[in-house]
């Protein structure tokens, strides 16, 4: 099994994506015998072109994707450059784990509740500053320009990129580079940008690409925060996919292929921009500007987005929790007039049922991913294969419709096993990314010492290596668990409406506008992965309590 693991991992990452893409490309050109499309034609593309929203949908995909990526990357790098090595930085990094475990949808709901015309921001300013005594008729959430969507994406992508940057810092000799730059009189930010950034960026390139692809084609966040008339392209493809009129599947497939092409085009533009920035950057670095005066203003400047993210998430989630127990809550009151658990009790049976399915899917997929990752690494794959990024780079909306058609054809759609398998495609990359560094960092002499004492490879793995990296194993499990809980589109399309989770239920409520109901489901959705994360941090700490030599960082 160990020897087969690398091949299995590659197959698990590449095959569903390849099959799904084939299942999108063929119908996009009219071929889908089950639906009467026996001949190739360009009719699906003509139908797609006839959709009046196409122009704005394409523009939205590009603007929100590039916007969210540039902003997230800039904030991440500035935070690290300006604050690395300080106390505040350690506080910020300790908040990363809970932020990462937060599902996109819950974060998006929190932000929506906060900035909506009847949200806390408007309430706090009313009526004394705004004169509003009822919620204003403004399109803040779901705005046409996609600004709310960009904000919602930045909220979640900065923690992800930050974690990737921190991992990269450990491999780039950043402390010594900074020491040299500082001793030559460079300011903190300038020195970091000129000496550490080039090495770090090389390491975080693929995660940045993943952020770009994700931001351009996201569905669940767009359903909550994105424009509605017209929809974003990804949401429209989903609409066509799930429409009762099955002929619309052809249009959906053409849309899915267009989405893929847009992402590939944007990646090409990004790579071109990288070259230009790198060439200009080398000239700039050679000119020797020290930038000592930049540190204080930049530190202050970057504190703003940090506060935006912290407050946005913190207040957003508090708002969700408060709405879930709110009775009467008049505008512009800051707090509800009465509280009650009515919605919770009304929903309790469903909450427990779907909560159980969610936890089962998440627990199993995280566990399988962990075993596969360990087997993959144990088989001597010293570095993770790049294949692991395929499911993160190809937009979900581009290959999941085709995959669900395949599932339908095989009679597997709507089964728990099929949903579990497709969750695994997205859970495995994150588990592998999370585990590979601690796995490599393990002191190999412990393994040699154990071998010399007569322990075979299995005993070295089970009795020495795994216990020594227990903390990393627990965190990788929690990351996988949270990834599974957050999956919306795979659950929806492969589950075919017969397998539901907390996430599909919560996102389905987005259009309802029922704040109390959304609050209940979103709170459940975020609580489940957070509890698992808390346990993942507590368990190794408890075990390591009497073993000081085990690193508990």
């Amino acid at each position: 099994m160990i020897r087969a693991a690398p091949g299995l991992v590659v197959a698990l990452m590449a095959l569903p994506v390849a099959a799904g893409l084939a299942g999108a490309v063929l119908p996009a050109f009219g071929y889908f015998p089950a639906l009467g499309g026996a001949d190739f034609s360009l009719a699906p593309w003509r139908d797609l072109a006839a959709w009046p929203g196409l122009g704005s949908a394409v523009r939205l995909s590009i603007v929100t994707g590039l916007g969210a990526t540039v902003i997230s990357l800039a904030i991440t790098l500035l935070i690290v450059a300006a604050w690395q090595g300080t106390r505040s930085f350690r506080v910020v990094t300790s908040l990363l784990a809970p932020l990462l475990s937060l599902p996109h949808a819950a974060a998006a709901f929190g932000l929506a509740f906060l900035i909506a015309p009847s949200g806390w921001v408007a309430r706090a300013l009313s009526p004394w500053a705004t004169g509003w005594d009822r919620p204003p008729d403004l399109l803040i959430v779901n705005d046409q320009a996609g600004l709310a969507l960009i904000a919602g994406l930045v909220l979640k992508e900065v923690p992800f990129l930050m974690l990737m940057t921190l991992a990269a810092l450990g491999q780039t000799d950043s402390a010594r580079r900074m020491a040299v730059a500082r001793s030559l009189g460079y300011g903190r930010v300038m020195g970091w940008a000129k000496t550490v950034l080039p090495a770090v960026y090389r390491q975080i390139r693929l995660p940045v690409f993943a952020v770009l692809a994700y931001s351009m084609s996201v569905v669940d966040v767009a359903l909550i925060l994105g424009p509605t008339r017209p929809n974003t392209l990804a949401v429209q493809v989903l609409d066509w996919m799930t429409a009762p009129d099955l002929t619309l599947r052809f249009t959906a497939s053409a849309g899915a292929v267009l989405q893929l092409l847009l992402v590939l085009g944007a990646l090409a533009v990004w790579i071109l921009a990288e070259r230009i920035v790198a060439a200009r950057g080398r000239l700039w670095a050679g000119r020797g500007a020290r930038g000592q005066m930049l540190d204080t203003p930049l530190r202050t400047l970057v504190a703003l987005p940090m506060a935006f993210i912290g407050l946005g998430v913190g207040l957003g989630l508090t708002g969700l929790a408060l709405w879930s127990v709110a009775g009467l809550w008049r505008f512009p009151d800051l707090l509800p007039q009465s509280y009650g658990l009515r919605v919770w009790t009304d929903q309790s049976a469903q909450l427990v049922g779907l909560g159980r399915t969610t936890a089962l899917l998440a627990g199993l997929s995280a566990l399988i991913a962990l075993v596969l990752t360990i087997a993959h690494l144990q088989a001597g794959a010293s570095r993770l294969v790049k294949v692991i990024y395929i499911p993160l780079l190809v937009p979900q909306i581009a290959f999941l419709p085709g995959l669900s058609a395949l599932g339908l054809w095989l009679g597997l759609d709507g089964t728990l096993g099929a949903v579990l398998a497709v969750h695994l495609v997205f859970v495995l990359p994150y588990v592998a990314l999370s585990l590979s560094d601690p796995w490599q960092a393990w002191d190999h002499r412990a393994g040699l010492a154990a071998s010399a004492l007569g322990a075979g490879p299995w005993r070295v793995l089970v009795a020495v290596r795994l216990p020594m990296i227990l903390r990393a194993l627990c965190i990788a499990f929690a990351v996988g668990f949270a990834t599974s809980v957050a999956q919306y589109l795979p659950t929806l399309l492969i589950g075919a409406g017969r397998v539901g989770t907390l996430t599909t239920e919560a996102v389905a409520l987005a259009a309802s506008g029922n704040r109390r109901l959304i609050g209940v489901w979103a709170v459940m959705q975020m609580a489940l992965p957070m509890v698992v994360f808390a346990l993942a941090l507590a368990l190794p700490a408890l075990i390591a309590r009497r073993r000081r030599g085990l690193k508990v960082a």
Binding site: D443, R445, A446, S451, A452, G456, L470, R547, R548
Partner: protein, 209 residues
């Protein structure tokens, strides 16, 4: 029981690093000396069967008359001590000693208690290894290796990280405990070689005195 290196040659990119052709008798301590980077640790890695793939090895290794050249590390029955103690941090002191003791050994607890006592650590079996002093940890590492009943002992600069005062003590303790085994000591410290009291060679087999 003796350890024989039969025309053992290690090369890297065609360049010879190690060349040894000798036999270490039971109870003898052979010292390999040289500056860091000369290939001492590479020689030990080859003898224990953990040579990195960048190196090429020819020749044979015999232990107690048996050819162990292709036997995996965990079946070779050669004990190894590093510069650091490399105690397993997730196990207690007693757990570390028990890890070394072969499965199916009768009276495990008594054997562990005996080893603790020999190391001057009576009753410390339940302790966290991280709470021990450097010298105590080094003694636990040695006892752990000896409990695994090795047929030879390989020492990779095991005294270099100890304080000067502890070093003499630990040398005496180690050589006394290892008295019946063929032992190869790798070091850059002439004092180690003197304390070992045996032949002193470079990794290419030339005698150093």
């Amino acid at each position: 029981m003796s350890l024989q290196l039969d025309k053992l040659r290690i090369t890297q990119d065609g360049r010879e690093m190690v060349s040894l052709d000798l036999t270490v008798a039971a109870g003898e301590v052979l010292t390999l000396m040289g500056p860091s980077g000369c290939g001492k640790s590479t020689a030990l890695a080859a003898i224990i069967g953990a040579l990195p793939p960048a190196f090429k090895m020819t020749g044979h290794i015999h232990l107690g008359g048996k050819d162990v050249t292709n036997v995996p590390t965990f079946k070779r029955r050669m004990g190894l001590l590093f510069q650091d103690d490399v105690l397993f941090p997730h196990l207690s002191v007693g757990g570390n000693l028990g890890f070394g003791l072969p499965r199916g050994t009768p009276d495990r607890d008594a054997r562990i208690a005996e080893a603790l006592s020999a190391a001057g650590l009576d009753g410390m079996g339940k302790r966290d290894p991280a709470t021990l002093s450097g010298g105590q940890r080094a003694r636990v590492a040695l006892m752990r290796t000896l409990l695994s009943a090795p047929h030879a002992l390989l020492l990779d600069e095991p005294f270099s990280k100890l304080d000067a005062g502890l070093r003499d003590q630990m040398r005496a303790f180690t050589f006394a405990q290892a008295r019946d085994l063929p032992t190869i000591l790798v070091t850059h410290d002439i004092e180690d070689a003197r304390a070992a009291g045996g032949r002193v060679l470079s990794v290419t087999g030339t005698s150093i005195s």
